[in-house]
């Protein structure tokens, strides 16, 4: 049981200082190494209980978090909303208080409404990790994207990233605008005005409607998923027109520098925002993002629940307890 009434949370990229982000990325290196071991499991979170509470369907994020928690030897409880009392009208608050009464250390929350992880953090003593809320934030996605870029370029400082597509409805875009600019990258949004937030003054970014004007001069082409429902809201005339103007085709990909990374948070709409062959290019790092996602989430869980404690504002010179990430195999 968590005894602190001030359990640390990860709700938004906004809450992280640049130093905290750098620490998490450095720690991720360690867990990438752990993930490559023959037995990719360490005892760091033995005895800790982590609940994944997904009010909105998600396969990859949920699997990624649960894999991360298991590799850290935490006990994982999975709360599937479709088979739960939430469908019988139980409130989010009652749900979290019920789960907490069983004794948990962290809850990983996904919800279709912006702000729910923040609300939950006020109703529980467990650590709350935002696994995506509405259009708002998806901080571990931003961390894994930053980690992926960093692993190719060494740093994000001075790099130029184009975020292409439906920024307005995207928690991935909001998190990444903050993550990338915080780490010193330049961000340009590429979208029709209907798919941009009403104003971007909260972020230090620029915007253009002309994808072809940016392709030759970027280090990362970050594509967002385009949902078909957007047509019904008169945000784009048709998927055909969207693909023609904003889709990353082989023809457009040829304008990218050879080292420009092609990234996508998944799931992809092949043929809409990305042509099928583009996803297979050597500089498309989409599955690498998924691989890094597990290690990033291990780092986040370790920081919040393990002996890392860095998000609790412990002195920055405290080093990680190396014993906690010794190989499981050594002990058995």
């Amino acid at each position: 049981m968590t005894t602190s009434t001030h359990a640390p949370h990860l709700l938004s990229v906004t809450d992280l200082t640049r130093d905290q982000i750098e620490e998490l990325l450095t720690l991720t290196d360690t867990f990438v190494e752990v993930s490559r071991r023959p037995i990719p499991k360490v005892p760091s979170l033995r005895g800790k209980t982590v609940v994944s509470l997904f009010f909105e369907d998600s396969t990859r994020t949920r699997l990624s978090f649960e894999t991360a928690a298991k590799r850290l030897s935490a006990d994982v409880m999975s709360f599937a909303v479709s088979s739960s009392s939430v469908n019988k009208g139980e409130s989010v608050r009652d749900t979290i208080e019920t789960i907490e009464a069983m004794g948990i250390d962290a809850v990983i929350v996904r919800h279709r409404s912006s702000g729910v992880p923040k609300q939950i953090s006020q109703w529980t003593n467990a650590s709350v990790i935002n696994a995506g809320d509405g259009w708002h934030q998806h901080p571990t996605q931003a961390l894994l994207d930053a980690y992926t870029i960093r692993s190719h370029f060494g740093s994000l400082e001075g790099r130029r990233v184009a975020i292409i597509g439906d920024v307005k409805h995207s928690r991935v875009a909001r998190s990444n605008m903050e993550m990338f600019t915080s780490l010193g990258a330049e961000v340009v949004l590429v979208a029709p005005r209907t798919l941009l937030p009403v104003t971007t003054e909260s972020w230090n970014v620029t915007a253009t409607q002309d994808i072809d004007s940016v392709l030759g001069d970027i280090d990362v082409a970050y594509l967002l998923r385009m949902q078909r429902e957007r047509m019904d809201e008169a945000l784009v005339p048709s998927m055909r027109e969207y693909s023609a103007d904003y889709g990353l085709t082989m023809e457009r990909a040829a304008k990218l520098r050879p080292d420009t990374l092609i990234m996508h948070p998944g799931p992809m709409n092949r043929g809409i925002e990305i042509e099928s062959e583009v996803a297979q290019l050597p500089n498309a790092v989409i599955t690498e993002q998924v691989f890094n996602g597990v290690a990033v989430r291990m780092a986040v869980l370790f920081m919040l629940l393990g002996s890392g404690l860095h998000l609790r504002n412990r002195a920055p010179d405290d080093s990680i307890d190396k014993e906690m990430i010794e190989m499981e195999g050594d002990q058995s």
Binding site: S114, G134, H136, R171, V198, T199, T200, S202
Partner: protein, 429 residues
């Protein structure tokens, strides 16, 4: 005549000005105004202002239908504690107040209340915006104001007909201005904050387009028009211009729109969710200026109780609205008089009392404090400083967006038809 009650040692403030004096009450009337009056019971008003009771043009009493959030009894007690002697109930109840039978029920329940309960009626059946409600049968029971509050009448032709029909009956139409095709699915003001929070926002224009249309339709039909809870700078400007052109237009503003901005939504606490939404700092300044100039005639609370579990829903799913009856006076003194916008205490009381009374045709309230006037009075200490807490006061709900604010001005006594329904700041029934 022997007085039942004497309010001693206060400063009288009404439409005719400010003066020292005692007020003597017998039965339901004021029977004496002057020095050294005596009566069976004395209310010490030293350091206090004695004013006509306040009149709220915009109160959600939630009965019938949502008694878990508020009842006519609890809501009217909150009103009395706030210095109100009359409230105008909004018709968005279940069932809707759109027929004589529901009007009768509300008025009947209101008879025992510690403030006069008047009710508005819906403009359209079920507030569905499709068919005119039987306004004449409701008007016969004393309904003087009709509104579909909670939403605006969307259809232009129907609104035109409603105005013509209402003008013929001599009743007032009041509009919640919101074009739903621009606001549907939204939960806050559209701007930098909504963009950052990832919450769907509605632009100021959702309100302004309907203000613009209704000014045009008022010109076309000659009908009087009242605009509810005006929240944007553009709306204030249009109303000012229409009034300058001599049109029969009145408007109200709510305490939250001159106190809070959309930044309050940053913590995703649905206590701060309201329709129309909390707007930008520029809109807040325009609402204050509109009240100071008198272009916005009245302060109306839009007191909107919601049960705690409803306000704990996700921000985009929670119902809109916040409490107001027990905070309006203090918020007005603190944020209008003390903010250097040129509004006096007298201006504030005008906007809380006689101006709204006149708009809604509530004749026994807001009257000058003089011999023969109905004894509907508020007594308050304008210098009493206090901190707003989360209790929600007498309301059944606790959706208070002002928790922790330091304000001044507290009601010590409220007199309704000669009866002290509030004494020493406590409800007597």
């Amino acid at each position: 005549m022997k007085a039942d009650i004497v309010i001693r040692g206060g400063t009288i403030l009404d439409e005719s000005g400010e003066r020292r004096g005692d007020v003597a009450i017998a039965g339901d009337r004021i029977v004496g105004v002057g020095d050294g009056l005596t009566g069976d019971r004395e209310i010490d008003a030293g350091g206090c202002l004695v004013t006509p009771g306040f009149v709220d043009l915009h109160t959600h009493l939630r009965q019938p239908g949502k008694e878990e959030a508020e009842t006519i009894e609890t809501g009217s007690r909150a009103a009395a504690l706030g210095g109100y002697t009359a409230v105008l109930a909004m018709p968005n109840t279940t069932p809707t107040i759109d027929s004589a039978s529901v009007v009768r029920e509300v008025l009947e329940l209101g008879r025992a209340a510690p403030c006069d309960v008047h009710t508005s009626g819906a403009i359209t059946v079920g507030r569905a915006g499709e068919q005119l409600a039987p306004m004449a049968e409701m008007a016969k029971l004393g309904v003087r104001v009709f509104t579909d509050d909670g939403s605006g009448v969307q259809d232009d032709r129907l609104m035109r007909r409603a105005m013509e029909y209402a003008a013929g009956l001599g009743v007032l139409l009041a509009q919640h201005c919101e074009v739903t095709s621009l606001s549907e699915g939204t939960c806050m003001h559209e701007g930098e904050v909504s963009a950052r929070l990832g919450l769907p926002g509605q632009p100021s224009e959702a309100e302004e387009l309907m203000v613009m249309r209704d000014i045009a339709l008022s010109r076309l039909t000659g009908a009087r028009m009242h605009f509810q809870h005006i929240s944007t700078a553009g709306s204030v400007a249009m109303i000012s211009a229409a009034k300058a052109a001599g049109m029969a237009i009145t408007a109200e503003a709510a305490p939250h729109h001159f106190t809070l901005t959309d930044e309050s939504c940053a913590g995703y606490d649905a206590t701060f969710k309201v329709h129309p939404p909390l707007r930008s700092a520029g809109d807040l300044a325009a609402v204050r200026a509109g009240l100071a100039s008198g272009d916005l005639d009245a302060i109306a609370t839009d007191h909107a109780p919601h049960a705690p579990q409803d306000k704990e829903l996700p921000f985009d799913k929670a119902p809109p609205g916040m409490l107001g009856l027990e905070y309006a006076l203090a918020l007005a003194l603190t944020n209008l008089v003390d903010s250097g916008i040129g509004m006096t205490v007298s201006d504030v009381i005008a906007a809380l009392s006689w101006k709204p009374a006149r708009i809604a045709g509530i004749d026994d309230h807001g009257r000058p404090i003089a011999v023969g006037s109905p004894a509907n009075l508020a007594v308050f200490d304008p210098e009493h400083r206090w901190c707003i807490d989360a209790s929600g006061g007498a309301s059944r709900s606790r959706n208070v967006p002002y928790v922790g604010m330091e304000v001044r001005g507290r009601v010590t006594a409220t007199i309704l038809a000669g009866e002290a329904v509030v004494l020493d700041g406590k409800a007597q029934r």
